[in-house]
């Protein structure tokens, strides 16, 4: 399986951003914003919370540009920091989870177009235990395999596989019940 890799950002853009060029920094954000925002969105199922968290991730990236070695490292770093921040955020205080019935008021036009089934599935994912949510998102949004996920979440590969298996079984069961 091939992971989704953002169109490779030129290392030169990274170097310019590191030198304080805000246009280059904006280029980096635009390259990775969908990845970071979507990881948070699929974790919380809340667009406002996802945007706030994604902004914080990019601010942290701005402060850490000096330690980011390459475009590939940047992608890895962003996935890792985003998932860690999602988990930290939920441990600080469980955020409000959006119910299917409230979705029309809060979601964008694109989500209103989503099928009811997709929204139901996202709602169920947002209620899974935090690590199951993370590995599921990295697996199906980012198309990473367990050996890549385990480097991001710093867990043994068998634990990652077990989280994935449990998450899928739990979703199957809940979808069957509804």
């Amino acid at each position: 399986m091939t992971a989704i890799v953002p169109a490779e950002v030129d290392d030169d853009v990274l170097a310019r951003a590191r030198a304080g060029d805000h246009d280059a920094f904006a280029e980096l954000i635009e390259e990775h914003e969908a990845m970071v925002f979507s990881i948070a969105l699929h974790f919380f199922n809340d667009r406002r919370l996802a945007e706030d968290l994604a902004q914080e991730v990019f601010l942290q990236m701005f402060r850490s540009l000096g330690s980011i070695e390459s475009a590939t490292h940047l992608t890895f770093w962003l996935r890792q920091v985003t998932t860690r921040r999602c988990i930290d955020q939920i441990r600080k205080g469980r955020p409000h989870l959006v119910d299917i019935d409230d979705v029309h008021d809060l979601q964008s036009a694109s989500e209103v177009r989503d099928s009811l089934f997709d929204r139901k599935l996202r709602n169920l994912i947002a209620r899974l235990p935090e690590m199951q949510r993370v590995v599921l998102t990295l697996r199906y949004q980012e198309d990473l395999d367990p050996s890549e996920i385990c480097r991001i979440v710093k867990l043994p590969v068998n634990t990652v596989k077990s989280h994935l298996h449990r998450a899928i079984e739990s979703l199957r069961k809940k979808l069957g019940e509804q």
Binding site: I4, H22, F25, A26, I29, E30, E33, A34, M35, F37, S38, L41, H42, R47, A50, E51, A54, Q55, F58, L59, F62, S108, S110, F117, D118, L121, R122, I125, L136, T137, R139, Y140, Q141, I168, L171, R172, L175
Partner: protein, 97 residues
């Protein structure tokens, strides 16, 4: 039901609301909150030290005065007690004669 393809579809990437990068850049460029000059912190520290020291000295003086007063009262009581005992012995001697 093919849950794998359902998950891929439900968890596809989405873009954040328009203007996201500009909002982050605006936060990066926002001036940092102004910090008070260093001498203000030093002056506040000195003032606190002087006030704290004065309060401690005052407490120490109060403690010593209290101890001295207590010692004086104890001495007076001891003297009074000795005098009363001596008077009692004198009265007892007169009675025995």
């Amino acid at each position: 039901m093919d849950i794998e393809s359902d998950l891929k579809r439900a968890l596809r990437r989405e873009s954040p609301p328009a203007g996201f990068a500009q909002r982050v850049i605006a936060r990066v460029e926002a001036p940092l909150p102004r910090r008070a000059p260093w001498w203000r912190a030093v002056a506040a520290g000195l003032l606190l030290t002087v006030l704290g020291g004065g309060w401690l000295a005052h407490k120490e003086i109060e403690r010593r005065e209290g101890e001295r007063a207590r010692d004086e009262v104890m001495l007076a009581l001891r003297i009074t007690s000795a005098k009363v005992r001596s008077a009692q012995e004198h009265v007892r001697e007169i009675g025995n004669r």
